[in-house]
Symmetry: C2
């Protein structure tokens, strides 16, 4: 049986979506149709939502779950008239927080995701540009400005991880691909030796790597299992020899890999 | 007065951080020192957290606010002994959800951010690669595979927006820079005409654009206010002439711009 879950917000919907996803992930036996509905910031839009919610209830034969972060009482009252089961995220926590902080919530619409605003904006854009400009070993003479330098074989997930850390945390992360030359030399390239304290290794299961490389260069030696297995083995040996902390990206999401790297390296977020 | 807020999780900390940030954004009169502490997944780590929390309490002279998404009762009990004010996100909502879904939560540690896992992984990596391969008009012959094509002047925020939509939602977004030639021709490039239904415009205030371009090419004509103002005016005229929906990125975060674009274009997320 499929059940519909709505993530409803007067802003981007990221908070409702993130918390809703996390909570629903705890219920593995039920499968959900997940729908995010951002910018529900008027009574009219709320009335239209009620129709969507009720038709989902009819279709599923069971009432939808609603995760909302709406601050406006009038809008929430309209949603409350729907047939959905409301998990009212903000109203649940704002009252106790107001008491604890002995100040009143501004109840301002669309405030529900503060990351990325104002002073953060340039910081973040610069971090993304840094990741792009220093991707895949393209440039090594700015490593003194890097917070982190990810190293690993080609296509092990360095670029998405660097971009995620830039976007989410404003971290300046460069990445450098370890190629066969580096492996045969059995040592770190000079450009990396100088910044060893910033290095973090990514590794990956050879079969996953083979699949990813086939997407780029089908049936190439580069994408062969033998080659992938060789490169991964050699690079993991290099990490151990050089005492470079590393993580296997195969079974983790980009979020998990990034969070683990920041903990391991003790790097603090730049976005506040 | 500064007050410390801890976002504590047995996983990445993204859920605790996102909800905590959203709630604290509602209290503009208090300023917070925000600390995210992921992977607090053992009683030992929880005991170490208690020391951090209590020393922050002593330093601030007021008890810290704790947003936690920890599912393990034993670990939560340890944190509860700290001097912090606990906002216990999961325990608050799991009980009502269990009742409504008439099934038990798996209470599995580290489950608290499901986005980006398993089937989502390749989808997302492919979307990020698509954004990179089709960035800045580098390639136009794959636009039939694009979910969206962002257009606008150089440095108006197209690349970070495309990368964010790829990372967060698995959306395949290309972007194409409108240059003076396009403006003088007073028409859309042929490559874009064919896919007009996928186009979305980004614009930006000339003074912000001037600041951003100065970061890249200080004191160039490209970065001059006159040039920026000219390009922005011409491109906004082009958007209006061609009936291309557009948004001014100046006062919005990348999250907000992305969410508004998806709503406007009616594009659904690919990550579930």
């Amino acid at each position: 049986m499929k059940r519909t879950a709505f993530f409803i917000s007067d802003g981007t919907g990221i908070t409702a979506e993130t918390l809703g996803q996390s909570l629903l992930a705890q219920f593995e036996t039920t499968s959900f149709t997940k729908l995010t509905r951002p910018y529900i910031d008027s009574v009219e839009k709320a009335r239209a939502m009620v129709l969507q919610i009720n038709s989902a209830a009819e279709k599923d034969g069971v009432r939808p779950i609603i995760f909302d972060t709406i601050v406006n009482q009038e809008i929430r009252d309209v949603l409350a008239q729907s047939e959905g089961f409301m998990i009212d995220i903000f109203s649940t926590f704002l009252a106790p927080l107001e008491q604890e902080l002995s100040s009143h919530s501004s109840y301002s619409v669309g405030k529900s995701h503060s990351i990325g605003h104002n002073s953060n904006y340039m910081e973040r854009i610069e971090a993304v540009n840094f990741a792009l400009d220093n991707d895949d070993g393209a440039r090594t003479h700015y490593y003194d400005k890097a917070d982190l330098i990810l190293v690993g074989v080609s296509r092990c997930g360095k670029t998405p991880t660097c971009l995620y850390m830039a976007m989410q945390y404003g971290i300046r992360a460069a990445n450098y691909p370890l190629t066969e030359d580096d492996m045969e030399r059995l040592q770190l390239p000079a450009a990396l030796k100088k910044h060893k304290d910033k290095l973090f290794g990514l590794t990956i299961d050879p079969d996953r790597l083979t699949a990813i490389r086939h997407e780029r260069k089908p049936n190439s030696r580069y994408a062969s299992f033998a080659q992938c297995e060789f490169e991964v083995r050699e690079v993991e040996n290099l990490f151990r020899r050089e005492n470079i902390a590393f993580i296997n990206s195969t079974h983790f999401s980009v979020e998990e890999i990034s969070a683990k790297i920041l903990v391991e390296k003790g790097v603090e977020r730049r976005l506040k």
